[in-house]
Amino acid sequence: MKEDKNIDQLIRSSLADYKPLPEAKSKERFLDSATAILAKSKGNSFSWKYLAIAAAILFGLMGIVYYYIADNNSQKINNELTKTENNIKVNDRIESSQEINNNTSVDETKENNTFNTEIIDTPTDEAINKEPNLHSTYTGLQIHSNNDNNSKNLDNKTFIAKDNANKEIINTNKLTPYSLNDVSQRDQFTSQIIQKTSSNTHLYVTADIEEKKRHKRPYSDQKTLNMAYSLNYSPEFVFNIIESNKIMHNIGADVHFKLFNNKYLIRTGLGASVSKGYYEYAVDYNEYLGSYSGLDSISFAWDENHYHLLPTYYKSEREVFDTAIQTDISRVYKRFTYLRLPLVLGYDFITKETYSLGIRFGPVLSVLLNNKTLSEDYNPDKDKIIQINQITPDRINTNWLLMAGINVGIYSKSKLFFELEPQFSYYFNSVYQKYDSSKPPFSVGIRLSVGIK
């Protein structure tokens, strides 16, 4: 026991101050590896900063949208009040409503049709929303009133003539302006409108520019204002990646905000991106050649009857491996699921009641949520594995891309709408953590979406 303590004490005291210096190349190797780890760690925190910035921008834009909606509502209320006030003032001057019979003009342009035309200024919202009852509910200024001595220049307002039967909207901006005092000009104006419309109908002229916009607005339901919701699916083909499987499936839910005359759009939401890929591994191994029964020990017993030793053999199975190292490439197939946070801005060149055409662009942030191993195609069997080196770099945790696309919207008479959007995406950084390729990935895809206004 004392000897044990002595030997323990001896080696302990001998090595108490032993601090060998590592070789210089070991230090270099460590510093290289450590710098890469630090850079990666910084890279991750950098991405999270971007995420925070993106969230701040998103909330800021949402704030602007809500402010815009609130402002729009208050403006409408003000407009209503102004209109009512004007109507009261005007009605004081008008003795009665009067229908214009433009029989002369009609006869010239449309034979056998009698036009019963009424030109009305500034209809109310209720009148617009209840188009069939427009005539009966509206009590606005009739601009052809004999008692109206005001001069009215059409350049000051945007006029719309609405054909009640065919529900056509005629922009009267291009028509000749006229003065209410000048009967010939007024008749000419009326005639121009009539020529543009079908027969036997009432014409309504509105001076409310906001009403005009509302009629052209694809999301026409005023109660939902300028918001819409949609679900989308977009297959995407990614290029400049290591794996051969380039297809990526994206699904998501979006909320759309339409701004400024419905020409501009902000679209954001949540989505998931699912893609399959593989990691390649180089497996160094010694091939299994077989086994034999090896002798571990022999014990002898004395056989008194026969006067000789009786041996007992203790054996164990021993495996034999080739000494040469061989290498196999193994693939582990995985499924990667990314969370996608888009912030898409858009502008519509064309906005009609039934369709729209515009461009969309904006950043999309992808955050790796999950990678699940699907299958492994390597079976080492009895071979002795020496080492395994991963060849394919790991997928990156966060990734930014810039998407641009052309959007075609199709709007049904109900609240449903559909969108078709061919897209091109440019990845700011590789989808891999360590990938030396100078070419960043890019992708093409198409976004199919269905939504409600």
Partner: protein, 192 residues
């Protein structure tokens, strides 16, 4: 003072200061290498273990919270010990070498029983003799003598029985003692 410097270094490392990396390596690499060299049979393996240990330290530094004085050094030493054991375990799996031990080596030579051990050895000599021990003996001896593990803890760590641990330690001591005596007896003989 040392603790303050250590804490400052840790804080810099947590913030990703590249210069702190070099400083912390210079400060602690010799300590960790002295540990890994006791476990490994060659210096190259020991340096690999130090490298892997530092990488683990770096990856875990953000989660490390010092709870007592010297906690950082204790933590990194423990990481190095674990890395060393894992390294040996993996190597044993790959090579199939479980330590070719010849019991004859551990049987005390009657002629050496009464010989006193030297007061002190050169550290390099001590390391060399320890590294000559079979891997199993060496590991148990290191854990018991230097890391001051109990046999129960050693058994848990190495997934062996307590009796095996005791037996391995006993044999390791005997073999080491024999090597020390041979070394010094031979040295004295040569000197005479």
């Amino acid at each position: 003072m040392q603790d303050t410097i250590e804490q400052a270094l840790i804080n810099r490392l947590k913030k990703g200061d590249g210069e702190a990396l070099e400083e912390i390596y210079d400060l602690y690499a010799p300590v960790l290498l002295s540990i890994s060299m006791r476990y490994m049979s060659c210096r190259e393996d020991a340096e690999d273990v130090v490298h892997d240990s530092f990488i683990k330290i770096l990856k875990g530094i953000k989660k490390f919270k010092p709870r007592f004085e010297g906690a950082f050094e204790a933590w990194i030493k423990r990481i190095t010990v674990n890395t060393s054991i894992n390294f040996l375990r993996n190597k044993a799996k790959m090579t199939g070498i479980n330590g070719q031990i010849h019991d004859a080596d551990t049987i005390p030579d009657p002629s050496t029983i009464d010989i006193d051990l030297p007061e002190k050895m050169e550290p390099e000599t001590a390391i060399k003799l320890i590294r000559e021990l079979p891997a199993g003996y060496r590991t148990v001896l290191n854990l018991y003598v230097f890391e001051r593990f109990s046999h129960k803890e050693i058994a848990t760590e190495l997934n062996i029985s307590v009796n095996t641990s005791k037996s391995q330690l006993s044999k390791a001591r005997a073999l080491l003692r024999k090597k020390v005596i041979i070394k010094y007896t031979l040295q004295q003989t040569v000197e005479k």
